[in-house]
Symmetry: C2
Subunit: 202 residues, 2 copies
């Protein structure tokens, strides 16, 4: 009789030898994401991730080139990308909604702290910086630029504006308050940003 082990489905994970690679990778990623949300980048060490995942550090070193890469992967594993960008005919409403949603994500969840610490770590970790640009900020920027470009095509915005700079003045302003934090990042602030740009200052 084969070993009839009723709950062998939950792997014991205490064997010495090889476990399924995909399973181990998944467990490491989950552990990384949870540790990131729980302790932030300060307490995020490869040793803790390995311990939390019940894996050995060697495995992590084999699959991820740097701590930053692991953190970013873990972040995406736990926090779904959520890159949706509602596009109605009203550019002002679209921008405002997106900015307000971003403000809430950053303020009301732990995602804000994680994002800011990922960006912080990226300042001294070129690999993480490249990965962050390529996989996070790049796609988000592209979506916003696309929305602005469509609004220009519809004649809602001046044709000669530079959409990229506008993105920096909306999202960049929010990141400024997130990273420097000398003033609070509020919903009103987000609305004011759109208003300033649309109406002009004089």
């Amino acid at each position: 009789m084969a070993e009839l082990t009723p709950e062998t489905q939950t792997p014991v994970r205490r064997g010495r030898g090889r476990r399924p690679a995909d399973q181990v990778r998944a467990e490491i990623l989950t552990a990384a994401g949870e540790l990131l949300l729980a302790e932030g980048m300060a307490g995020f060490t490869i040793e803790k991730v390995a311990a939390h995942a019940g894996a050995s550090r060697m495995t992590i070193y084999k699959w991820w080139p740097s701590k930053g890469a692991l953190a970013l992967d873990g972040y995406f594993t736990v926090v779904a990308p959520t890159l949706a960008f509602a596009d109605t005919a009203d550019i002002v409403a679209d921008l405002t909604n997106q900015l307000v949603a971003f403000v809430h994500l950053v303020r009301d969840t732990t995602a804000g702290r994680v994002i800011s610490q990922l960006i912080g770590q990226a300042q001294t970790d070129p690999e993480l910086a490249a990965a962050y640009r390529e996989r996070y900020s790049g796609p988000r920027r592209a979506l916003a630029v696309e929305t602005l470009t469509r609004a220009i095509a519809r004649g809602q915005l001046r044709a000669d504006i530079d959409p990229e700079s506008v993105v920096d003045q909306l999202w960049g302003a929010c990141y400024h308050r997130l990273l420097i934090a000398d003033l609070p990042l509020t919903e009103d602030f987000a609305r004011t940003l759109v208003d300033n740009l649309i109406r002009g200052l004089r």
Copy 2:
């Protein structure tokens, strides 16, 4: 006749006992600033600062609460604050000049790398974050807000705008490109930021 000691001014520094406290502090700060500019926050360790200053680590631990505090103090020691803010009657020219100067400071000197790494470190170092806000970003923001307020008083800008948010949309946008760096931080970009806000998008 004061002591005319031609080169006794450079102390031998190789004794075992005590040296003047102020002198040691000054040498540590200079060493910290130089190390910061040379290697950035990545290679900035208390051990290296101590070695470079010819001091012992104990002394540094006694006077500075954290690595971040030492780095910030060292930065201010080497890079003069330079908080001047020219104020002519032309608000557009003033803002543009200030932003362009900031862009050049950040792009053409090592200060940009140091600033971004200080901000990065501040994301996981609350003491450094507080010191940075209090001693660097706070005063700079206040100067910019003051300039905008005067322009409003002169009737050059709408009276109902929020100067703080405008600061975020000008300098924050630059910091965004400095910290994320998915697009270059150019002089043209700085001019476009002012133009976008002044003229409005439609």
